[in-house]
Symmetry: C2
């Protein structure tokens, strides 16, 4: 009987689940919205129902386990999520134990950005390396670090907060208390904020700024220069710290790669001796917004391997 | 027959070697100067002679191996040192193989700052944790990262270059090509440079600046404020990236801890949500300039353990 696992990605907006084979082939996927306004119990039942449907669809296969990526910090031992702005109802709630009880299956929790990095390592742009750092550019900037093939969690599951690295000591203020956080200078939200400062139009989105830039709008181009420089400062630091072979970028602003990446690479080249000396790849991630789903599905396979050793 | 190992610390100024028991007790130590001007062969013979004396002194014990810390990047597989400003004669030279041939013993090379971090983890301020980051403040700023009890090397032995993290995007220029590197704002050299900018006297040393500061000199105090802030920005980033339980500082400016640490801690507190949420210690290292010697001596014991698994 061939084995498979189930990955779940619970976000502030979307709830998705997928059955994935040991070889990384997606066997089935269920995508819907996270009905957070309906309350915690409703969301839990949606998760359980999606997983149960996938189990039914794969009744000829053996389920290894369920992995779930969620925004926030994961207290791995307790199986809880803390500090999640997107899932306030689940703060300090025993979500892992409750889902295991409802499902009768083992479930592994992980931070969503960490899961995405693991997914890329498993079957995405990082499948040929054991060590990588991934940045996901969105409303904020999430980070995941893979060390020796595994997620670097830190002692309370809070590692990889790359969006809050300081890139400008006196830069834009951040809700985390810092100033000049990477995500205040290079996220989709930062792109929109800079567009407002440059009077590029009320209600403009980061896609709108991108469109203006490819039409040659000088101010829109300046924004992507600034985004590239901020990313370059952060990446140069990460290259100096880790000397890993691969750094991946993912997320909404990725189509604008050709606009920001030259400035980013220029900064890294200038700011990191290590980058100049050690062949280091800075590339686009490959799995798009399914990276987290694959990474979550990989968690039970990895736990099974670990248990053997 | 009890076992011991030998640690060697080859710096630009000093050459030291010590025999250390498995329990971390120093059994004997030889300290001298690195006579680099006498040429590479003379230095190699000095190293061999020191090690052989220690072996003679411990003839009733069994030698597990020799570890050696050197400034520069270690190409672990090849056993060579590259990019070392302090040891230009050894650039790309097969130092490990040559010493093994002269000694008839196994030798493990490591970067000196990495060795110091490992020493602190073994029997110093980090002996109760498995993960830590250590900064050594000196002429430059060296860094060592211990992950799951082992040195995080990166794929070409270049990880841990914490002295070259950008703390000010447009800060002081650095020989590495970057601007605003931590070591250009917080090393002993940076302290002296700031003292010059503040006209605190020609030829003043970092110790001299410290003396002025404890006498209440306002400008000298400003320097330690700036040092603390730069360290705080870098440490906040490291805490956000690693979420490790312990960060250690070592080196010459450590006596000035009470002058710079309050500013450092203030910055970390302000800039790192992770620091505020997760109990994180930022402390003085315990072994002083012997940390690297102990760390180097621990390398053969660790390799022996690894070989068992």
């Amino acid at each position: 009987m061939t084995e498979y696992s189930i990955g779940v990605d619970l976000g502030g907006t979307n709830l998705r689940a997928a059955a994935v084979s040991r070889e990384g082939k997606m066997l089935g996927k269920i995508a819907g919205r996270s009905e957070l306004q309906a309350g915690r119990d409703a969301v839990l039942l949606d998760i359980v129902s999606a997983i149960k449907r996938l189990i039914e669809q794969n009744s000829d296969r053996k389920l290894v386990g369920v992995g779930m990526g969620v925004p926030g910090f994961i207290r791995f031992e307790e199986g809880i999520v803390v500090g999640s702005n997107n899932l306030p109802d689940f703060e300090d709630f025993p979500i892992r134990d409750e889902l295991e009880r409802l499902l009768g299956e083992k479930l592994i929790l992980e931070n969503d950005a960490n899961a995405a990095a693991l997914g890329e390592k498993w079957i995405g742009a990082g499948r040929d390396v054991d060590d990588l750092v991934m940045l996901t550019l969105g409303t904020g900037i999430g980070g995941g670090i893979i060390s020796h093939g595994k997620i670097l969690r830190g002692y309370l599951g809070m590692a990889g907060e790359i969006g809050h690295i300081t890139v400008m000591a006196d830069g834009n203020p951040c809700g985390c208390g810092n100033r000049g956080c990477l995500e205040k200078h290079a996220s989709a939200t930062a792109i929109v904020a800079m567009a407002k400062l440059l009077h590029l139009g009320d209600g403009i989105t980061s896609e709108g700024v991108y469109k203006l830039a490819i039409e040659g709008n000088e101010r829109a181009l300046m924004i992507f220069t600034a985004v590239g420089e901020a990313l370059g400062i952060a990446l140069a630091g990460l290259v100096n710290i880790f000397n890993y072979p691969l750094y991946l970028l993912s997320g909404g602003p990725l189509p604008a790669w050709d606009l920001f990446a030259p400035h980013m690479m220029h900064e890294v080249q200038k700011r990191s001796y290590t980058f100049r000396e050690a062949k280091t790849r800075i590339e686009k991630a490959a799995l798009g917004n399914e990276a987290g789903l694959y990474g979550a599905a990989f968690l039970p396979f990895q736990a099974q391997e670990d248990a053997k050793h």
